[in-house]
């Protein structure tokens, strides 16, 4: 699997969430994604970007376009140095929220992705990686 292109973006404010949506959309279009696939990965990106800011205290997003043989994909890696997630299984449950949201961010983003992984260390931060393939 090859990484064709990549860029890193800061995640600090709700304006950054809008910029992330636009950047992910541009990469998905460049990778030849259908309109539905574009919409799914942009929506997933919006959910996790907001989580990184609201719960992780901000962080960074790495966007990469991947090539696996003839397949193209987009991989997003969100990293923060926040408090971490004590119970990842619980955090991935529909309707569970530690904040004031609907509790659909993580679980919904996972459903919208082909690959999804969370690693978290209490007191050190969280990394969420998701990918969608054409």
């Amino acid at each position: 699997m090859l990484i064709e292109t990549g860029e890193t973006m800061p995640l600090r404010t709700s304006d950054d969430v809008v910029r992330v949506r636009q950047a992910v959309r541009a990469r998905a279009v460049a990778a030849g994604f259908s309109l539905v696939d574009q919409t799914k990965i942009v929506t997933a990106a919006s959910e996790i970007a907001r989580n990184t800011i609201d719960y992780g205290g901000g962080g960074v997003l790495r966007i990469e376009v991947l090539r696996d043989g003839r397949r193209l994909g987009v991989r997003l890696t969100f990293t923060d140095q926040g408090p971490g997630i004590p119970d990842i299984a619980l955090a991935l449950t529909d309707g569970y929220t530690s904040g004031g949201g609907l509790g659909l961010g993580l679980s919904g983003a996972k459903r919208l992705s082909n690959e999804f992984a969370i690693t978290s260390s209490l007191g050190h931060g969280t990394t969420v990686t998701l990918a969608r393939w054409k």
Binding site: S14, V17, V18, T39, V42, T43
Partner: protein, 129 residues
Amino acid sequence: MSEIPILKIGDCLLVSIQVDMHDRLAMALQDDLTQRIVSDRARGVMIDISALEIVDSFIGRMLNNIAAMSRVLDAVTVVVGMRPAVAITLVELGLALTGVRTALNVDKGLAMIRGIIDNAEHADAHRDR
């Protein structure tokens, strides 16, 4: 005040969201609309989202909240113009927008609001007799 204009047409308010909304803008719109329902004595609210390329859980929650608040204030909310890719993604995200009435376009949305208001007034008139 939000940067999204709210137009008054008769006893209805019309909002057409034409920008990629950041979260504070969505909250401001929710507050503005609620104020305007009361100050304009609006009976219907139509929100056109045909320009929105995504609806995530935050924007979905805003639409749900507007519908719930307007219901409490005796107004009807209809969301119109959702793109097919947005609808597919919303359902997969897990957000069914169960509390929100939807219509395909502005014409059908206005007709829906009119029908609901007229029905309610008819029922009121009947009760008062």
